[in-house]
Structure formats: structure tokens, C-alpha cells
Amino acid sequence: MAEASATEPKRPGREPDRGERADDAVIATRGLTKRYRGGQLAVDGLDLTVPAGSVFGFLGPNGSGKTTTIRMLMGLIEPTSGSARVLGRPMPRASRTVLPRVGALIEGPALYGFLSGRDNLLRYDAADPTADPRTRRERVAAALDRVGLAAAGGKKAKAYSLGMKQRLGLAAALLQPRRLLVLDEPTNGLDPQGMREIRTLVRELASDGTTVFLSSHLLDEIEQVCTHAAVMAQGRLITQGAVADLAAGARGRLVVTTPDAGEAARVLKEQGAADVVVDGERVTSEPPERDLAEVNAALVAARVRVRGFVLERASLEDAFVALTGEGFDVAG
């Protein structure tokens, strides 16, 4: 959390329409809905706005409709109703002009096992009508290098480990300079080291100005890299906005550590703190409206021996629980 809020200082009073207008948005959907042929309502009336330049976390438990949304954004499936615009153009109608500027990793990598990693990339690049065949080899080499596969580029893809396949999939998304990267659970199946590398790569790409749309079912992953987030549950959008604002939406808790817990609880209530909970030497409450320095002074004045006095920031998980009233579990 600390990391995300440090890179994302709150700027109150900023032009309110900036970045929220549909024409500035890299992705904008309205009432986007998908019911699969089996009758499963996978995405239900989604209104999503992804501002340019953001690292946008698309968060939701398994089966909440993240991949389905991404398939609609990439023109792979037709929405049942509603519309989607990517880079300001309607999808899937404008696929041919939009998709060359979008790199995508959808539901894990898919490779030709009998081809080498390098030949896989050459093939995907040949499928892009805007890719220059004269620079193809260099671009493929650069993409392999970028994901750390330069040495393994000649190996058959079927001999790759899951992590290597994931990297090769990422390399395919990086064959050209992109304005938008759509990464569907890019750290699935990776070890912690691989996850860290992906996060570093995402930050690098974002600092080059690429908008990154990152879906994940892992809260801490989103908290670590994203500037913005949207939360999905059972096909519906629960909330979206800047990560710092989302977490701020769920209020943090005041934590007082003291051997005089009972007295501390009394003083806190007196000071206007709600939901005071005593747990051994730990007294927690919702922070009162007044200046916390006053609250601390009142505790000391009442001869409460204060060992610790902390305002614990809310995490995205707290925000999620506050919003849904439930934990972050797979919907049954």
C-alpha cells in the first residue's frame, strides 16, 4: 500500500473532467454485457473507464468476468449488449486500427510447441499487418531480450517451463511499441522471483507512457503496481478509481497499545471514537473526527500509559470487504 500511495500522491482539486472523459480514456465501456451461449451471465452492465497513462488493476475473484471483459475489449467475442471503446475507437469494429497498438496476454500464453521461441514471435509478428518485415528479426530479438529469454530463444517452445512460456507470451505483446498493454493474470504460475520481475517490467513499461491494464485475483499484486483499480464480483463492477482513493474510501483504524486498555477505551469513546474494540493490550476504533493529537493528549491526561498510537491505513482488501460486506473469495 505504502508503495502505491507514494507513487500516486493525491492531488485534490485537479481538473475533475480530465482522464474521466471518454475520449481521454484508453478503455471506456458502457453497459457492456456478455451472456454466454450456455446462459451464463459472465459480465453484467460494465461501465469501465481506464485513464491514459494509468496502471489499471482489474481485480476480482476467479469467475468474476475479467477474462470475458478482456475478450470483448479485444474483439474476440461479441458483447450481448453495450459497447466498448479502446483507444477512442469502437470495438470490435475498429480492430484493424486499434489492435496493432495494443499488446495482449489473454488467459495465459499460447505457443506453437514445435517452433522455437523465436519462431513463435516471428509468426505472431507476421500476423500483424502494421509490423515492418524488414525490422522483424531485430524487434523479435529485442522482445526476447526484454523478457530475459535471449539465451533460450532457439529452444523449442514445448521445452519451456511455465514461467518461460509466460515470458514468451509477454514478449509477443512487446513486439511493437504499444499504447496499451492488456495483461490477463500475467503472474499466474510464476514463482515469487518471476512475479517480481513481471512487476518491475510493468512499472518500466508504465514509465515509458504505456497504459497497462492488468487483471488479477491477487489483491496485493494490484496494490503493489497499480495506480488505479476496478473491482469485479460476479460479473458486476463494484467500484473503480485511483487506488489511493479506493483505500481511503474504507477508513483506517486507530490502534492504541497500552497496558491500561479499559481506561483507554473509555477515553476514546469520550473523544467520539466509534466501534471501540479491546483486545488484550490493543484498543482499536474508528478514528474520531477531531485532531488525533487532541485524542492522544486526552489519553495522556487521563494517565493512560500509551505504548503505541497508530492510524493503520486501510488496505484495498479492507476496501473490498467494506464494499461487498464479504471476503475476497471465489463466488459459489
Binding site: 451461449r37 491514459a52 496502471v55 474510501g249
Partner: protein, 332 residues
């Protein structure tokens, strides 16, 4: 970026610039998310190379390389190359004592040619094509065509080709062109193998046509090439049928099995006398008309009927495949 796309944009604009009433979220969250980069970033990377008119050739080349590097393709071609070798050796053993092969005359084309192999090796080309056309050749085509879309779909590579974006119509056309190329390659493999084996094991020289006239070896070679082209063209219908089946399913194996199953069924139905009203519409009905190329003068009636029927199959199943593939949800 085409004019049509610019119009697309304007059409969808009014709906999307309106403020969003439907978003389910805390209004405090919506206001002032810190957008990291403004619209300048979007403008900065806007330039995209316009597609080269030769790009489709690049995709075709990639498709050919991919198809002909599959071990399955190579195995099919190896089996086809082995057929003339086996036939040649069998005939050589049968006629090792200097006598010519007995029987002959029965059936359409095949056996008439086989009795002449020991006199002239070139007849092995006609015999081998007649022997492989009813089953081996179309089965190979059925496997390659059935796998064309469904195989990519089950491997997941289809979605990456489509987001590259290859374009659905172009991808389908490229796939069909590749299958047709495979028809030609498969036929030529049989013909060239037969030509080589025939020249190695048997005498070569002037030859007698079915009509009893004598033509030179050079003219015989010309006729052999023409026959190979006619045989390759005879496979265009099942290639289109296989491609259509391939767009119906997400399983490469199922598509291959269905196509080969259809082939066998049609071959059997073509033998049932009660169905003679339908038989002229079976794609295999005029296949053995290629023997008419060996008449003097060439008897064109059935050859033309065959080519017309193949064109009809290509048009009907090509359109069906296109209608299916361009509207299909790609979820694999």
C-alpha cells in the same frame, strides 16, 4: 487509418461522451483520480505504420512455414511418397521373370495403367495417382484442412493471431490458400516419387495412350504434369469442406476425424446404385476422370464436370466457413 474508421468514431461518439450515471460506486472515489500521464502521452505514440499491401503474402509465408514444419504434415507427405515406392516394388517383383502384368482393363483408369508399368515407368505416375486419389490424398487434405482453424483454436494460438490482428477474413483466406498449396504439394510428392521410382525400376520411352496412339516421352511427361494438376484441383472441394468443419469446432482432432469420416461416407454412398440421382453432386464422383487426359484427343467432358463441381464446393463451403468464422466467439 481509413476513412471508414473515422466515421465509425463519430457514429459512436455521442453515446460515450455523456456522463456515466450507471456506475455503482462511491462518488468520492470518482472525483479526481490522479492520472499519471495526460493526453499528451496518447498523442505521442500515435503513429502506426500503415499495412503493406504485401503483408498478406508475409502471413501466407508464415502459414506455409508453420504448416510444413509440423511433423504431422511431414508424416503425411512421407506416407504419400511411400505409396509409389511400394507399388513399383510390387510390380517389379510380379514381373521379374520378364512377363508383363496379367489382367488389366477393369475399373476406371487404375488397373489399365498398372499393366503398362513394366513397359514404361511413366505409367507408375498415373497408377500411383489413381491409387492415392480415392483415399490417401483426400485423407491427408482432410487432416490438414480440418486442423487449420480448429487446431489453432485448441492450442489457443488463434486468439493471439486475431489480436495481432491478422483479421478473420484474411486469416481464413490465408488458411485456405495454404490448404490448396498442400493439395498441390501432396499430389506432386506422389507424382515425383512415382516418376523417380518408375525411371529407376522400369524402362522409359515413348508411350501408348488409352486411345492407342503413340506419344513421345516428353509429351508423356507433359500429360503427367497435367494429370497431377487435375488431381490437385480435384481436392479443392474436400479442402473447403474440411476448412468449414474446422470453423465449427474447437478441437483439431474432432475436425480432422469429422472430415475424414465425411470422406469415407461419401465414397461409400458413391458406390450405392440407389443413390445415382445424388451421386453427380458428390465431390468424389468425377475424381477418376483424370484418366481422360491420357486419351487422344483429351476427352474433356468429365474433367470439366469435375472442376466445376470442385469450384461449387469451394464456393459453398468457403462461404459457409467465412460466415461462421467471422461471427464466431473465440473463447479458447
Amino acid at each position: 487509418m481509413s476513412r471508414a474508421d473515422a466515421q465509425d468514431d463519430r457514429a459512436g461518439e455521442s453515446a460515450l461522451t455523456a456522463p456515466d450515471p450507471g456506475v455503482v460506486m462511491d462518488p468520492g472515489v470518482v472525483a479526481g483520480p490522479g492520472v499519471v500521464a495526460g493526453p499528451s502521452v496518447v498523442a505521442g505514440q500515435g503513429a502506426v505504420r500503415s499495412p503493406s499491401p504485401l503483408w498478406s503474402l508475409g502471413l501466407f509465408r508464415s502459414e506455409l512455414l508453420t504448416t510444413f514444419r509440423r511433423w504431422r504434415t511431414l508424416a503425411l507427405l512421407a506416407v504419400l511418397a511411400a505409396v509409389p515406392i511400394l507399388v513399383g516394388i510390387a510390380v517389379k517383383i510380379e514381373t521379374g521373370d520378364g512377363s508383363s502384368l496379367g489382367g488389366g482393363g477393369g475399373g476406371a483408369g487404375g488397373p489399365a495403367f498398372i499393366s503398362q508399368i513394366s513397359n514404361n515407368g511413366l505409367f507408375l505416375v498415373f497408377t500411383a495417382l489413381a491409387a492415392t486419389l480415392p483415399f490417401f490424398l483426400p485423407m491427408a487434405i482432410g487432416v490438414v484442412a480440418g486442423d487449420a482453424i480448429a487446431g489453432e483454436s485448441s492450442a489457443g494460438t488463434l486468439r493471439y493471431l486475431l489480436v495481432a490482428p491478422a483479421g478473420r477474413s484474411r486469416l481464413l483466406l490465408t488458411k485456405y490458400a495454404t490448404v490448396i498449396t498442400f493439395c498441390l504439394a501432396a499430389t506432386l510428392v506422389v507424382a515425383v516419387s512415382a516418376l523417380a521410382v518408375g525411371a529407376l525400376l522400369f524402362p522409359v520411352g515413348d508411350l501408348i495412350t488409352i486411345s492407342g496412339t503413340r506419344i513421345t516421352y516428353a509429351e508423356g511427361l507433359g500429360r503427367a504434369l497435367l494429370i497431377a494438376l487435375v488431381v490437385a484441383a480435384s481436392l479443392v472441394g474436400i479442402a473447403a469442406l474440411g476448412l468449414f468443419v474446422s470453423t465449427l469446432t474447437g478441437s483439431g482432432i474432432a475436425a480432422m476425424a469429422t472430415t475424414v469420416g465425411l470422406l469415407i461416407t461419401v465414397q461409400i454412398l458413391d458406390q450405392i446404385p440407389q443413390l445415382d440421382a445424388l451421386q453427380p453432386y458428390f465431390f468424389s464422383h468425377y475424381w477418376l476422370s483424370f484418366a481422360d487426359v491420357m486419351r487422344e484427343p483429351v476427352y474433356w467432358d468429365d474433367l470439366v464436370k469435375n472442376l466445376g463441381l470442385q469450384a461449387l464446393y469451394a464456393a459453398v463451403f468457403g462461404s459457409a466457413a467465412w460466415a461462421r468464422f467471422t461471427t464466431k466467439d473465440i473463447t479458447a
